[in-house]
Subunit: 461 residues, 2 copies
């Protein structure tokens, strides 16, 4: 049995995924503005041998354009929220092994500035940074960054492709190995012959370079991606080292994983070059009775409105959820019709309502049981091909403290969780190498701007 990898899936906000839970008296995520919440959590996660703290993010508010965001504000539904990237160095200096993964959209940062930010964080953390590549699918986000409307889906992935090309060039190609000398006696800090402009010219970006940061331990950060559409999966197959999935069961997971791995191989990579992380939230109890009691407790706090507004179904054109007792069959929603149908069928024998839809949504990825039962289920997921779990929380820091105290020991006994960290960078821990492997598209830019190398794209007179 190989150990699974575990990330803590969080967001710098009060209500990330499990809407309504912030109202629990023990839910400290309401204090997300306070850095101490995160510093303490990072230490807790490192005690639990978590591979990474994985920050989701979004740069707009969910809902239709005319929406008044009443539900979003009331539920703390990812607003207010803070920038995760500038929080990471506080966590880096309070941990030694924990990976620091954050989400950044191609929409929000220029790739030249973004590449330097990541290199800086990778230096600060000694090689523990990961980037979750997203393209922003929220209308308000587009309008925060000067666009009239969301860029069409497939075009966003073409945009993302150029974006990663620019940052790959800066991370992998701009500085050759050995450029940094810090030679006091000769008075040479760096060798300019080994530092190159990239002169990128593309559809959206023109970037001269050179990269301003010297090579960080990982150069390219560990790359996560979460797209599950056609273009998204193609992009992940070509670029991701970790893919975040939320599938309803191991069978669907196995299919998705097999398919993406096939695409990766077709793109010149190996099946094992991508690790798959299923999103799961655990409800742990030492007895079945305790499990049922805790399930009921979480269910009681579920905000149906929060789930509906987050997922944009069963809301009217102002973003307002329909009344809880509205039968699903009465709702006309072009965007979400297939989901509505699926839910309507999944509860046969009664007329499903908007309230059912919200409650069912809250159960995505939920696994309840005693530690032994959960370990059994994780074995099945592992057999289906997952390499790790993105652990979704109900409340901070409690959900992860429970994981550490009650689930981890059982998983360790079963060989499903590691007993200690491997040394080195995040990529070293997960893939046994500091730098992205030679099959990855980023690697083709190594030496690409160095005159007279095999990879060189530079013509010299």
């Amino acid at each position: 049995m190989t150990a699974l990898a575990f990330n803590a899936f969080v967001m710098n906000t009060a209500s990330h995924i499990q809407h309504g839970q912030w109202r629990r008296p023990d839910a400290q995520q309401v204090n997300f503005n306070d850095v101490n919440l995160w510093v303490d959590l990072a230490r807790t996660l490192e005690r639990g041998l978590f591979d990474a703290i994985f920050f989701a993010d979004i740069v707009g508010v969910y809902g239709p354009l005319g929406g008044d965001y009443e539900v979003n504000a009331r539920e703390g539904l990812q607003i207010p929220s803070n920038d995760p990237s500038v929080l990471l160095s506080a966590l880096a200096v309070n941990t030694e092994h924990l990976g620091l993964a954050f989400t950044s959209s191609v929409l929000q940062a220029h790739p030249f500035d973004f590449a330097r930010k990541v290199s800086t964080l990778d230096h600060i953390s000694r090689g523990r940074v990961a980037w979750n590549i997203v393209t922003s699918s929220v209308e308000n986000a587009a309008r925060n960054f000067g666009l009239d409307q969301l860029t069409p889906h497939d075009e966003r992935y073409a945009w993302a492709q150029e974006y990663v090309d620019v940052v790959y060039k800066l991370w992998e190609g701009s500085w050759d190995e050995g450029a940094l000398l810090i030679d006091r006696a000769r008075g040479v800090f760096a060798d300019h012959n080994k530092i190159h402009k990239i002169n990128h010219v593309g559809a959206r970006y023109r970037v001269e370079g050179p990269h301003l940061s010297s090579p960080s331990p990982q150069r390219t950060p560990l790359l996560f991606q979460a797209g599950s559409s056609g273009a998204g999966r193609q992009f992940a197959a070509a670029n991701a080292e970790g893919q975040f999935i939320i599938t309803p069961n191991p069978t669907v997971a196995a299919e998705l994983i097999r398919d993406t791995r096939r695409l990766a191989v077709a793109a010149g990579r190996r099946a094992e070059d991508i690790k798959f992380f299923q999103g799961m939230s655990f409800i742990l109890g030492s007895t079945e009775a305790e499990v049922r009691r805790k399930e009921a407790e979480y269910d009681e706090h579920v905000s149906v409105d929060g789930f509906l507004a987050h997922h944009n179904y069963a809301v009217d054109r102002y973003g307002k959820p329909y009344p809880a007792d509205t039968p699903l069959s009465a709702i006309k929603s072009e965007a979400s019709q297939s989901i509505l149908d699926w839910y309507a069928k999944s509860t046969p024998g009664k007329v499903p309502t908007v309230a059912d839809l919200g409650r069912l949504t809250s159960r995505r990825g939920r696994i309840a049981g005693t530690p032994e039962q959960i370990a059994d289920q994780l074995e099945q997921w592992q057999q289906a091909g997952i390499d790790g779990v993105n652990v979704i929380n109900w409340h901070l820091p409690g959900s992860y403290e429970e994981f550490n105290e009650h689930l981890l020991p059982v998983l360790q006994k079963r060989g499903l969780a590691k007993r200690e960290y491997r040394p080195g960078t995040l990529r070293q821990k997960l893939f046994g190498t500091d730098r992205i492997n030679e099959r990855h598209p980023a690697a083709r830019y190594r030496g690409a701007f160095t005159p007279n190398t095999a990879n060189s794209t530079v013509e010299f007179a």
Copy 2:
């Protein structure tokens, strides 16, 4: 005697201002990639009651377009360099009072993303963030961000004016006081009636909003600016709360300060709404003999090439400095002719050379003497109207350790330095108020997006 304010003027790079000094055996700035250098320095500065650590930054390489950056790389002349903004939270969690000032150009970050980054940092640091507003005057920086060439000087300030308008709207106008409720019992996290879109539409930006972060302790960070040109001074007079100057003597300082304060009053502010920080590097000795010895030591390490390349004078069209013995009179440089003339005149009786120019440049802002002598000089500067000093270092952390140990006690005895921090935010410490004052242009956006207030720009049907 009022105490002066003191900032430590640093950069996340090896050779910021005093080029060549990194070659000293005790110069730890060569380890700028290591976060521990900065954490330890921040603690040292807090022991010395520094008001802020002030990070300069640049997003390109100095020199002409065709330059090969040989000098820049050799001297570590602001390349490699790292992003200061993502370093700040590591310093915030290791200090309690120290202000955290960083430079960010309108060129590098979209104002929506930038505003959120700053709010996040202001939350993390409990109100200790300052922003040094710059427009980037380096050609390579423009070409890293998709421009063909540098935007003309005065147009850059028009750009900066729109940029600050956007971020002021987000910081001051998007969230009313009292919007954040965190009311568990009623299940209301925030009141959407007090959170507003800003719907900014301008020449360069369209930003819908709302701001995603809730109001941070200072809302608008403390604002620094350093422009000394006509447009730059006008901008500073209207917007800055701290202005960074490097003037050759107290007389010139007094003139500049008087002039800028007059402009501030003309813009509806008060003279005391801007504090002026003169850039100074100290050479401290307990005797005059020791001072002379240390001066010689620093002079010995000066990199003439570094100064010339940094300031872009006496370099040819490839960015290469002319040979050290070239007489200044032999150099044709349109851009720098007036500086060359000034230097040529300032050393009468000999034929000044390129080497003299470099060495003289290294002395800008230098004050050498015993602690008592330096205190005498600081009194003169204070009489000229400066409120504080941006202390330029020769080497990290030594220059600031010397300040703490030898200069600070004498300044305290004279009443020129404080004996303890005032409590509260950075603005509270410097101006006695957490929020930017009502005379500042940012304040006009308070309530601007709230229906039916005095400031309201929102028309309701």
